[in-house]
Amino acid sequence: MKYHYYPGCSLEGTALEYNLSTRALMASVGVELLEIEDWTCCGASAADSISDLLSLALPARNIAIAEKTDEVRDILVPCSACYLNLKKVEAKIRSEPAILKKLNSILNEDQLQISGRLHVRHLLDVIVNDVGPETIRNNLKRALTGFRIAPYYGCQCLRPYVVFDDPEDPRSMEPLIETAGAEVHPWNMGGKCCGASNMNTEMAVGLELVAAILQGAKGADAIVTVCPMCQMNLEAYQHKISCMQNEDLRMTVLYLPQLIGLALGLSEKDLRFDLNLSITDSFREKLAAKL
């Protein structure tokens, strides 16, 4: 299995452990990642608040570069915001031929062309449907028995494009968690918005949403995420929110490939647990007992 790989800006900085654990996990199950050469920002959630055309042109450039390589059909994207931006281009050039023409007139400035033949895939989609629980079961080195995990999906890998999961009641992570030997924390917050995009400009509003998610996760050993925006939002303000709510809402938050990687025998060092902002002492102790 071979994929184009679009890490996106966060995965080079604030979400470095997502990047490195994704690469480590994929290598361990024999998936090859071809990083898109000289990739640039997809516009994040900033471009579409400024200009529609720019919000399509920025991701289109990366797809056009990937299209130059034959034989690979899919672009793998771990960040949900990047995924949605790239996916939007894929969907729009299929439904609106005028957009394709416009994008090509822009990309032509850089001697690039886009046809739309590539499929944009979220990392979770690829782990669930291409790698699959069977591969995890066959390579299981360390069953995570006794761990209770709350799967958090966030928004943009589920909506508005319904591709690999139920956008109202997402469940796709559950077989992965169970195959890894852990138990799924029953909750209904998995597909609820964490308000990340309001955190910088309207913090009080964002904090409310995060508080509800952390409260819902009580009783779990960890939340797992598949988006750098959600991850940072859920881990960075726990102290503040605990003070506001007057209850201890500290919670370990891991990226999905970090959790699956553990079960496949990768070390905490390979998976860069040192970079996470919130791994609780009790989680570390429980994990140490497993090693």
């Binding site: 042109a57 450039r61 928004c155 943009q156 909506r159 309001n198 964002g206």
Partner: protein, 190 residues
């Protein structure tokens, strides 16, 4: 149809000529059922509910819309877009209102507009965003020394982890310049 709205910028009254027609096109078929409001995670903090906002858009209440914080609070979760029984692109309509606020630099939305613009400026410089540079630009644009303090604890934590750098990235200069220019040129023609 363009409607002129007045707003205050540093003690003088400025006028902006706003065209709501593209947004009206998006929500024309709204039946006022309120599914969007019921689905919105940020509705509790809004002054008008999303349902109310769409009616205001269709009724040309331009001045009131651009006094409201409703569209600025949309966090793009796409629940309303997914559930709208008329299949309307409601998240995109919220974005279209944000774009109008950005185009006219409406001071009411200074924080979010400057946030997005600083981000994009950093991307235009280097091709990828540089968090330190972009936050520095954002703070400079806001001209309020208290705001950086709010971000300091997280910023320090991230620096200690080596996740954000103090230095601007060393990369090919302005790899996106021709794309930015061409987009601006095409938008001029609209």
């Amino acid at each position: 149809m363009n409607i002129a709205i007045n707003f205050k910028r540093s003690n003088e009254t400025v006028q902006a000529s706003v065209n709501l027609a593209p947004v009206q096109e998006m929500v024309r078929a709204c039946i006022q059922c309120g599914t969007c409001t019921g689905s919105c995670p940020n509705e509790f903090a809004m002054d008008y509910t999303p349902r109310h906002l769409w009616r205001m858009v269709l009724m040309d209440q331009t001045a009131e819309i651009f006094q409201s914080k409703t569209f600025a609070l949309c966090s793009a979760c796409y629940c309303c877009t997914l559930r709208c029984p008329r299949g309307l692109p409601l998240t995109a309509a919220m974005e279209a209102l944000k774009q109008i606020a950005a185009r006219h630099n409406l001071p009411r939305y200074k924080h979010s507009v400057q946030f997005y613009k600083s981000f994009i400026r950093s991307v235009r410089q280097h091709g990828r965003v540089n968090e330190t540079e972009f936050m520095t630009m954002y703070f400079a644009a806001l001209k309020n020394p208290l705001i950086p303090l709010r971000f300091a604890p997280l910023g320090i934590k991230l620096m200690l982890k080596g996740k954000v750098s103090m230095l601007p990235p060393i990369r090919r200069e302005r790899p996106l310049e021709s794309i930015f220019r061409k987009v601006a040129e095409l938008e001029e023609r609209l």
